[in-house]
């Protein structure tokens, strides 16, 4: 076998072996075997002395190109492996992502937003009033006579001077009507205050949404329609409504509204105390005395008003049975919403 043939078979063997390589360790072995100090290529170089002088130059040239080719191939292969290794080192997809703090809106303001969206949808604008009120707006303008037991329905906080903490959002009705001519169609969200002992079922501060619609020819049927639509949009289209006669000084006739218990579909459960109904809001047709106190003509205009407790509605919907947790602000609680 001529030395040229030998060079050819070395190259061929090398390529076969190179193809079978599976890791970097084998590359090192292969490199040592062919290109090491006592390796195959260096062995071939040492045979150059035995070659006929006229061929020496030619043999040297092809040995050099063999060495270069092998070095290049090994480096390439080595590169391949280190790239893939580095890649796997860089991205371990099982590592957790960065932890973003979970922001959250308070369940009560979320509920208010949701309810206001529905009322906006039904054509109500939003209005506001102060939390510290006058006796006139909180009571007088709403047909609560002085020294009348109706005032006991709402335990009142009195502030220094002559102010009181509003016991309901209803004063926004008369404030708004005093400043605006009919037709008016508003909802008023906000905090109200009751001087009641704090318990799982009552808190001295809570939120209400007041509704008011005054125009010619507004009837109790419109009130029923509006509240029916609202409850179906808020609780689900299956709920039914029941109106019971009640008493509020600023509406006549007045009613309490029960909604069929959406937790048990009206079959009776712990939350609805086995009645199948949940008491959710109060409403009625605006009393003519309220119209008189804001300068509207009760013969010309009719109107309805309603007031709902946001906490109560939200607690029913979310299954919260202690109102105090809403005002405690533990982030473990808040992050759930």
């Amino acid at each position: 076998m001529s030395i040229f043939d030998e060079i050819g078979s070395v190259a061929e063997n090398f390529h076969n072996k190179l193809d079978k390589i599976i890791d970097q360790e084998q590359i090192v072995d292969l490199k040592n075997k062919y290109l090491g100090r006592k390796g195959i290529v260096s062995n071939l170089f040492s045979q150059i002395g035995k070659v006929a002088a006229e061929n020496r130059k030619k043999v040297g040239k092809s040995l050099n190109s063999l060495k270069n080719e092998l070095t290049k191939k090994i480096n390439e292969k080595d590169q391949q492996f280190s790239v893939s290794e580095e890649k796997s080192k860089k991205t371990d997809y099982s590592l957790p992502g960065y932890s973003f703090n979970k922001g959250s809106q308070h369940p009560i303001t979320q509920s208010i937003d949701e309810m206001l969206d529905i009322f906006n949808h039904l054509g109500f604008d939003i209005a506001y009033g102060p939390e510290v009120e006058t006796d006139w707006y909180n009571f007088g303008s709403l047909n609560f006579p002085k020294n009348h037991p109706a005032r006991d329905m709402q335990d009142t906080f009195y502030t220094e001077g002559s102010g009181i903490l509003r016991t309901h959002t209803s004063p926004v009705q008369t404030r708004f009507m005093t400043k605006n001519k009919p037709p008016v169609r508003i909802v008023a969200p906000g905090r109200v205050y009751r001087n009641e002992a704090i318990s799982p079922r009552s808190y001295c501060v809570f939120n209400q949404i007041e509704g008011l619609y005054v125009d010619k020819d507004v009837t109790f049927s419109d009130l029923r329609g509006t509240l029916d639509m609202f409850c179906k949009m808020y609780f689900g289209s299956d709920v039914k409504l029941k109106f019971r006669t009640s008493y509020f000084p600023f509406t006549e006739p007045s009613a309490e509204v029960d909604v069929s218990c959406f937790l048990c579909d009206g079959k009776g459960c712990r939350v609805c105390k086995n009645t199948g109904w949940l008491e959710i809001l109060g409403c009625g047709m605006i009393d003519p005395n309220v119209f008189k106190s804001v300068g509207y003509d009760p013969e010309k205009y009719n109107g309805f008003a309603f007031g709902l407790g946001v906490e109560r509605m939200a607690m029913l919907k979310l299954g919260i049975n202690d109102i105090r947790i809403l005002y405690e602000n533990d982030i473990e609680f808040l992050k759930q919403f």
């Binding site: 979970k102 506001y128 502030t159 169609r185 049927s221 602000n329």
Partner: protein, 797 residues
């Protein structure tokens, strides 16, 4: 208010089941629930008869009894009671009965003899307190029957009344309601009294000082009565509605009040000095002891019933201990009067004394028929249960009759208010059933005379309600289509607040909702130095003031979270803060504020990023973001003077107005909480932000040409302010300088020198008209550097 079914049935035939009736009453505005009142014993307690009693062979105090419990079953029961004897009928708790949650009757061996049940004492069955021996029952009790079958029960409606219906605080009132709701007839008994005594004018006289406060006063006298225990039927009635039986006179008086709704009073006639009644207002500071033995100091607004010398009752509220009827009373004076509701209410409030009587008077009683009916009813009843002679005649002081009002109802009004047409005959029927007299009935109208027991009815609208609540509260149609009037004024505040909330939620903050009632101390710590507004009648000292800022609320929320070892706390809240302002009509000025609190790191603990604690610049970034979003410029920061210990603070200004503050509290402020990081808070007045916001957002043309970036790093004295250098760069950067940011800042004594600081700025230039050239920017950069050198001594690094 409790009404008993059997009591109601004396006046009206009731065909509905109690539950159905309760539902109907509720729909009509009398929220009623059904209760079964009376005593009951646990299951498996039966009537047994003792057949034989023998001494227990191994125990002195025990006996071994054979007891027949029916069905020819004979039980051996060991009994410890000394009164057990053969032939007695006794209650027997059988094996398996449960006398208390932890007391179940089992088969047990007592001193060697097996006992199969227990013969019970009163207290063991929950029927009383008697433990002295077993209960011995009447002989007519049937062996083997459940003991429960012999215990009396009453069906009682608990009615939750609204304050406009004093007439329904009585059986008569509820009867009228039932008649109207169920379309049935009722009848109240006529009263016949036998006046066999002396003439009343010879016995007593009545004098009323103020006819407005006491428009009517009637009195009768009954002599030679006997005060004793009430007869069984009276006791039963009184107890069925939850009252305690006292004696026949007191019970009779309560009975009539519960029946007719009119509160009455009986005085021991012999204890009345001068045998006379004077109705007058108290003198300021006058003292009086009521029957609850409380000595009360009176003000001149209290109406009193007096004899010739002294007060004997707080009119309409409570009698005095002195003139109380007791077992020695022989002669009584019966008062049936009408007092002005407002006077009684005021008195009741002043004395903080609310009684069955005051509750009725302050809501309004009937000055006419009911008052007289009740007077005669009670007089007759006392005569019936206590004997004696009724004096001839009745004193009746009623100088100015309170007339029944006549109110007209247009039939069209019902449709106008409710959207529902109701039959005229049905309307008429309702008013008659409710006790109204019809004075006019035409095609268009009905007019009624309103009985004075219905003080709530004065106007047409009140009549509309009567018809609706009785006939059709559940029949009014629910319109599926509504006519609406739409206003052009659309509220902008709520969307503004909503977007601020969204911003914070997106940045990982949790929104809180805190009590606005805080302690005075908290209110005084508020950052705005508002004068706190106090509550006159607080629930507690911890909640006697309205909050003056949001930060104090957030710090309280922080505490709860830290005590529960929550980490990386980021809170925000939007709410009102309140300042005392005596010039305002409410005595308060309200501000809408945003509060923010953070303690912890920018990133939570994780495997890669080394996280840094949140600092003041984090908050400045948030403020910038909000301001940019709402187009508010000219925001300036100035160090706040006079801030608390352990804190540093910077105030935020818009056009010279302080609109907020960022405060950093060192860990040392919260020594008990053991915090890991300082607490940074911020509060911003949203009223101002809302007002100053850019209301109309407009499109700004964007540049289509590339920008050129240039960096410049300078070394300056530590005393120089970054903001000033930034402003200097902006002023000299020309119209094409669109942004400057500081991307590096460091202090290094060795490299930079003592009291020196290095700042690196990156400037971005961009033109809307063309691509900028390097050489023109070079010139600008040179100018900027020269300015920084001359004005701030800046050296290039």
């Amino acid at each position: 208010m409790k009404v008993s079914l059997s009591w109601l049935q004396q006046y009206i035939k009731i065909e509905d089941k109690p539950e159905i009736l309760a539902k109907k009453l509720t729909l009509a505005g009398l929220e009623a629930t059904v209760n079964i009142v009376g005593k009951s014993v646990p299951d498996k307690v039966v009537i047994g008869q003792v057949l034989s009693v023998e001494k227990h062979p191994n125990a002195d105090k025990l006996s071994v009894c054979k007891v027949n419990v029916g069905d020819n079953e004979e039980l051996t029961i060991v009994c410890g009671a000394s009164n057990v004897a053969a032939d007695q009928k006794v209650p027997v708790a059988l094996v398996g009965s449960k006398l208390a949650s932890d007391f179940k009757i089992k088969k047990t061996k007592l001193r060697g003899i097996e006992s199969h049940g227990m013969i019970c004492a009163e207290d063991e069955l929950g029927l009383g307190n008697m433990h002295e021996g077993i209960m011995v029952l009447d002989n007519d009790y049937e062996i083997g029957k459940n003991y429960n079958d012999y215990l009396e029960k009453e069906i009682v409606f608990d009615i939750d009344l609204t304050p406009n219906r004093p007439d329904c605080m009585s059986h008569f009132g509820v009867v009228r309601e039932i008649a109207a709701i169920t379309d049935s007839k009722y009848k109240f008994n006529k009263i016949n009294i036998n006046e066999s005594g002396k003439k009343i004018e010879d016995l007593t006289k009545i004098n009323i000082e103020n006819n407005e406060a006491c428009p009517r006063y009637t009195a009768r006298v009954i002599q030679n009565i006997e005060v004793k225990e009430s007869p069984k039927w009276l006791k039963k009635r009184i107890e069925s509605v939850g009252l305690r039986s006292i004696n026949n006179i007191v019970d009779a008086s309560n009975y009539v009040m519960i029946e007719t709704g009119h509160p009455l009073h009986t005085f021991d006639f012999d204890k009345l000095s001068g045998h006379e009644i004077n109705v007058r207002f108290a003198k300021s500071g006058e003292q009086f002891e009521t029957i609850d033995h409380v000595k009360r100091k009176l003000s001149s607004e209290m109406l009193l019933i007096c004899d010739s010398e002294k007060p004997i009752a707080l009119a309409g509220i409570m009698g005095g201990s002195f003139s109380e009827v007791d077992e020695n009373t022989k002669n009584v004076l019966v008062e049936s009067a009408y007092f002005n509701p407002a006077v009684i209410r005021k008195g009741s409030k002043l004395q903080q004394l609310s009684t069955d009587s005051s509750k009725r008077f302050e809501r309004g009683t009937d000055s006419n028929d009911t008052l007289i009916y009740s007077q005669n009813r009670l007089t007759g009843l006392i005569n019936e249960v206590a004997g004696g002679q009724i004096a001839k005649g009745m004193i009746d002081i009623y100088p100015k009759k309170i007339d029944e009002k006549i109110v007209k109802l247009r039939f069209s009004k019902i449709k106008n208010i409710t959207g529902l047409q109701i039959e005229k005959q049905e309307i008429k029927r309702i008013f008659i059933a409710l006790g109204f007299e019809i004075t006019e009935f035409s095609d268009d109208n009905i007019s009624v005379k309103v009985p004075t027991f219905r003080p709530d009815i004065e106007r047409e609208i009140d009549l509309v309600e009567e018809v609706i609540r009785i006939n059709s509260m559940d029949k009014i149609p629910t319109l599926r289509k509504i006519n609406i009037s739409v206003s052009e004024n659309v509220d902008k505040l709520h969307p503004f607040l909503k977007s601020i909330r969204n911003l914070f939620v997106g940045m990982g903050f949790n929104e809180t909702l805190s009590n606005s009632l805080v302690s005075e101390k908290m209110a005084k710590s508020g950052i705005w130095n508002y004068k706190p507004l106090k509550i006159q009648n607080p629930l507690s000292k911890e909640m006697d003031t309205l909050r003056t800022d949001i930060i104090q609320s957030l710090l309280a929320n922080l505490k709860i979270n830290v005590l529960r070892k929550r980490e990386d706390i980021r809170l925000f809240e939007i709410g009102k803060t309140i300042e005392k302002e005596s010039r305002s009509e409410t005595g308060a000025k309200e501000h809408l504020n945003l509060g923010v609190l953070v303690t912890g790191t920018v990133w939570g603990l994780n495997w890669n990023e080394k996280s840094k604690p949140v600092n003041v610049y984090y908050f400045k970034g948030i403020v910038n973001l909000i301001c940019e979003k709402y187009g508010i410029d000219n925001v300036k920061y100035k160090e706040t003077k006079n801030c608390e210990n352990n804190s540093e603070s910077v105030s935020i200004y818009i056009q010279k107005k302080e609109i907020g503050r960022i405060i950093k509290y060192e860990i040392s402020k919260f020594d008990k909480l053991q915090l890991d990081y300082p607490v940074i808070v911020m509060e911003i007045n949203l009223d101002t932000m809302f007002k100053k916001r850019n209301k109309i957002q407009k499109y700004r043309e964007i540049s289509l040409y590339p920008s050129i970036m240039r960096d410049i790093s300078v070394v300056i004295d530590k005393t120089k302010m970054a903001k000033d250098l930034l402003d200097e760069i902006k002023t000299n950067g020309g119209g094409n300088l669109i942004d400057v940011i500081i991307y590096d800042r460091f202090i290094d004594h060795e490299k930079l020198g003592k009291d020196k600081i290095s700042l690196s700025f990156r400037l971005e230039f961009r033109s809307k008209e063309r691509t900028l050239k390097d050489n023109e920017i070079d010139k600008i950069m040179e100018k900027i550097f020269n300015k920084l050198l001359t004005n701030y001594g800046a050296q290039l690094r």
